[in-house]
Every structure is written in C-alpha cells, then in structure tokens.
Amino acid sequence: MPLNIVVLLKHIYDENQLKVNQSTGEVSFQGVPGKLSTFDRNSLEAALRLKQKLGGSITTLTVGPQESERSIREGLAMGADRAILVKVTNILEMSANEVARIIVNQLENLQPWQLLIASEGGADTYTSVLPSIIAEKTGLPLFSYLKSLDVLEDGTIKGDRALERGIITVKGKLPAIVSVVSEINEPRIPTLLQIMASTKKELKTVVPEEQIQADRYFKIISLSGKSRERKRVIFEGSAQEVVPELVDSLLKEGALP
C-alpha cells in the first residue's frame, strides 16, 4: 500500500544563536540565522523510512515567512518529493490554534493522504500542542510522542509512545496523525547530488485562504531570556557517604520524583 505522507516542517530562529541582553533579558532576533526546527528532521526521517518500505510520496507543509524556503529546501534535499509553504509574516505571534487552522485547510487540498507526521514540538516555542489540535479538527486518531513507528501493508499503524513514566505500545488504522520524539531515529545527511537535485523539486508558495484572525485566547505578554545559575555543590567523601547526601539534596530541590 503506497502511502501519501504529509510532514510538518517549521523554520525557526537558530536557538543557539539568539542574543539575550544580559541585564534586561531582552531577546534580539536581529541577524539571527534561521534553521529547520531540529526535531522536524526526525519527523521527515520517519516519513522517508516508511516511504522506502511502502512506496508513495512525501509532501512537506510549512507555515511561515518567505525565509522558510531555506529549511524547506533542506527537507527536499533529505528526500521529500514536494513542498508547500503557506506564507505568513508573523508566525511567532500566532497561536498553535491559528497555525493548526491554516494547516487543516491545506490538508483538504492535499487529499488523498493517509498519514501526517509532526515532531514532538518546535525547537523554538515547544508548545507541543499542534498535533493534538490538528487531530481534533480533522477528527483523526492521534499517536503522539512515538519513539518507534511502523505501518503495515494493510494500513495498520503501530508505535511506542515515550512518556515520562513509561512506554505505551499503541496500534490503530490509518489515516492518522502522529508526533515523534527525537530518539525515534538519526536523521540522514543528504549527498551533494541530492542537494543539487532538490533545487528541481516543486516548492509551492500559497497565501492562507482565510484572513488570519487574532486568537482571543492567546497573547504574548513578554518574551525574555532566562539565565540559569548553577549551584556548584561539591560533595566530598567516599561514594558510600556521598550518594545518600546527593540523593537527599536532589529530593530537597525537587529534582527527583
């Protein structure tokens, strides 16, 4: 059964290169380069492996500014077949709900597809709610936080959900919405040949069909950088003496459950 897979890709500011004013905490985006959201490469890799097994096609879908093209090209180089960019200028100020609305509209145009793969969260805002909202709006089952994923010839989908307190093995039928965690795979590095070939693949830019409305439930109040101070505690003594002390102080800090 060939699969048509939609993979969500997001272009973000490279979080490692954000500049934070030390005294005010103000975050500057000036001159910060963009990149493909780290975990989205895992989603795409998961899709590529399913395509290798079952055949079909992979379309990537991005909501973001024109600069997203750079990250979308990276997806095409890794092996996606085509890409769609829904152009918006103010992605950072949009709620997950608004973004989901735009995505669901586009998904209608992309029919027929059987599987949508998103990552566990954007490496910038990390709200992690987009896949659930899409599942809700489309009425499709959601398999979230998968650390393994397989689709069988008969359209059965299986996977292991990596949750904080354990692993849940789930099974269901396509069509479905999936989110994956980064440990699911190691994203591939494309060859020069694949990078060059990606320039010939289709990248369609569209504008949102509906007017973007301000979400009355969502508003950014402030955006600031937080610095973390390390405690630098040193425990001295033999392991027998020190380990209980360490556990005690971790418990006191609430670092252990």
Binding site: I189, P190, L192, L193, I195, M196
Partner: protein
C-alpha cells in the same frame, strides 16, 4: 587595471544556497561522526573502516567527479567547502579523501573512455580507493627528476623503481604511477619522456615496501611502493607517451586548492579554540582576553583566517570558471593558507600555554598536521616560483625560464 587582474569583479566570490546547505551538512557530519573518533585516529594512526565506508556512502570520494562517472557532480568550490569543514575537525581525513582526487583527476582529464569507466566510476562511488604515485625519495616537487622506469616489451610496459611518500598507498586498490619511458632529449628538456600508467594493487611485482612514520596527519598513512618488473598493458597507459609531466602539473594545480582549504579549516579550528579559551581562562584574576598581547594574537589570527578564506574560495571560483589565472591564485592560496595555519597553531600554543603542548587538548596536533600541508602538493617555495612565473606569463607574456 587592478594589477595583475583587469577588473575588480575578477576578485568576486559568490556562493549558492545549495553550497551553504552542503556546508552545514558537512559540519554536522564532521562534528557528530568524526569528532568522537579523532582521538582514536590520532592514537592508532588509522581511520576506522566504518568511517571510511560512511564517507564513501555520502559520496565524498567522488565529490568533483561528473555524475556520468558515478560522482556527485560538484566543483572546486564544493570540494573546498568539504576540505575546510572536515579539516576543521580532522585534517587527516581531508588528506585521505584528497588522494582519491589525485587518482581520478588525471584520468578524467587525459584518460580514455574505457579507463574512466573502469577506474573512475568505482573510486567515485567509494567501492574502490585510488592513490597517486609520482614522488620518489630523489624527487618530489622536481617531477622530472624521477627515476622509476617503464620499458615497452611487445604490447606491455615493464615498470621498475620505487615510489615514496605515497598517501593512502597502503589502502589503495588502484594507482596512477609516473615513470620515465625515454631519456630526456637534453638537460633543458628533462620534463620530456615521462608517462603515466594505471596500476592495480594485485599486479605481480608490485609491493608496499614499508610504511614511513611521520609527525602529523595521523590516520592518513604514507608508504613506499616497490615495482619489480610490474607488467602494465598498453591500454593502461594514461594519456599519450611522454605526456606525463603535463598531466602531473595539471593535476597538482587542482589538488593544491584542496590543500589550501584544508589549511583554512585548521586555522578556523585554532581560531575558535583560542578565542574560546581566552574568554574562559583566568590568570591573575582576569580572563586572558583582557591582555593586549593575547588580543593582538587573536586579531592577527582573525586577519589571516579571513584573508585565507577569501584566497581559497577565490582560487576555487576561478578554477570553476576555467580561468587561466586559477593556477596563479591556487599557488597564492596554498602558500598563504598553509603558512597562516602554521602561525595560528604556534600562537594558539602560546595562548594555551602548557595546555597547548599536551596531546589531550588537541592543539599541538594541528601544528604537526600543518607542517605537512606546507610541504605536499608542491612545497611552498615552489608555490612562490609558480606565483611569479604565472604572474609574468599572464600579464606580460614572459616565460622567465627561457630568458
């Protein structure tokens, strides 16, 4: 006139978005897959087989080989990007990949269609490895001074002699080998009478005589090769009889940009490490970066780094445009970038102090590595000769060797 060039735009360097993307992926590869192995490579003078295989898979052995011969269809700029980024982490790996280039370039430029299919395709795909055997104990930069001989008997050539300093010779499947096929007609024309041959490692009478120990580029081993009546069929003659000198020169013009890029990667690494260390290391309760002498080292390192980068990619750009001037630019880049890297390595050791001379910080390794880049692909003294000879040839049409 912007002597020795005509227009300001002759100095232009431009990159495509694909080249930017390629660079980012190579950096990811180098940091994720090479960096954790550097200590092993250094201590064992050996690159793990699985890493070589992985590099072959990613198409690195055939980056600049046209796609119809199993390569990646890249150009000199992409090869330079690769060399810089990989050398930033492990200069020896750049050398190991580079020797395949020295094998395929002469065949692509002068080989028959049959030779390209038989020898370039498997090397470009990474299924086989190539090496280049010109240098001997008696002659390196002086290519015409080699003594290995080939004598034609019927339809085969019999090779006798010994090659030295052959990078990757211990793991190569195929070699291009330069031999003298007729005595030089005169002292002035001693470059005549040399011919290249393609030799397979299974050939009878071919031996790896010994491994030569060296100070740097651990992992990229060099060996001596012995040829005792090695029979090579005439169809494995590369280019015309007597064309060997010309083939060698054209090959090295390409190769030396790769070495310049390798040195650039070394300078980049040293600069990043030195800057980082200067911010973190405190002496007399102040960070090193607050000392003017340290800043002077760092500022000069930056100047050399940026200048080297412009030279390297400028030379590569001219090569990709098939401009005659690229040979001049390649020699400028090679001599400058390798000496900038040596300077950066010595200053990095000054900045690091004791931590710079112990092996575990990995600073002194770059100094050992860089010494080889000054010597191979034409020693820097030779590069300076080329710079002036090419300059006069290009601008005034003068050949100083015949004055």
């Amino acid at each position: 006139m912007v002597f020795p060039f005509k227009k300001l735009s002759d100095y232009e360097v431009k990159f495509t978005p694909e080249q930017e993307m390629f660079r980012e992926f190579i950096r990811e590869f180098a940091e994720k897959e090479v960096a954790p192995r550097v200590q092993f490579i250094e201590e064992n003078d050996q690159v793990p087989e699985d890493l070589l295989k992985r590099m072959a898979e990613l198409g690195f052995q055939g980056l600049a080989v046209p796609t119809e011969y199993g390569g990646q269809g890249g150009n000199q700029v992409t090869v330079s990007i690769f060399s810089e980024e990989v050398a930033r982490v492990c200069p020896a790996l750049t050398a190991l990949v580079g020797v395949n280039g020295l094998f395929v370039i002469p065949i692509l430029l002068f080989g028959s269609e049959e030779q390209k299919k038989r020898y370039v395709v498997p090397v470009a795909k990474g299924e086989k490895k190539g090496a280049h055997a010109t240098t001997e104990a008696v002659a390196g930069s002086d290519v015409a001074g080699i003594q290995t001989k080939a004598e034609k008997v019927g339809n085969v050539w019999k090779l006798n002699g010994r090659k030295a300093f052959i990078s990757g010779g211990d793991i190569a499947d195929y070699f291009v080998v330069l031999a003298r096929t007729s005595p030089p007609p005169s002292k002035k024309e001693r470059w005549k009478g040399l011919t290249f041959f393609i030799v397979e490692k299974e050939a009878e009478g071919f031996h790896i005589a010994r491994q030569m120990k060296k100070i740097g580029l651990k992992g990229s081993r060099i060996v001596e090769l012995q040829f005792d009546n090695v029979e090579v069929p005439d169809e494995n003659r590369l280019g015309a009889e007597g064309e060997g000198f010309k083939i060698a020169m054209e090959t090295y013009d390409h190769g030396r940009i790769g070495v310049a890029a390798q040195a650039l990667g070394i300078t980049q690494a040293l600069f990043e490490k030195s800057l980082n260390y200067s911010l973190q290391r405190y002496t007399f309760e102040r960070p090193l970066i607050q000392y003017q002498m340290i800043d002077s080292y760092l500022a000069d390192m930056t100047m050399k780094l940026v200048s080297a980068r412009h030279l390297v990619y400028w030379a590569a750009t001219l090569a990709d445009q098939n401009r005659e001037e690229y040979k001049f630019a390649a020699s400028l880049a090679k001599a400058y970038a390798t000496e900038a890297a040596e300077w950066a390595a010595m200053k990095a050791i000054n900045i690091y102090g004791g931590a710079g001379v112990i092996t575990e910080t990995g600073i002194e390794r770059y100094l050992r590595d860089v010494e080889i880049t000054k010597v191979y692909e034409g020693a820097n003294e030779i590069q300076r000769l080329v710079i002036i000879r090419q300059l006069l040839k290009l601008t005034l049409g003068i050949d100083i060797t015949s004055m």
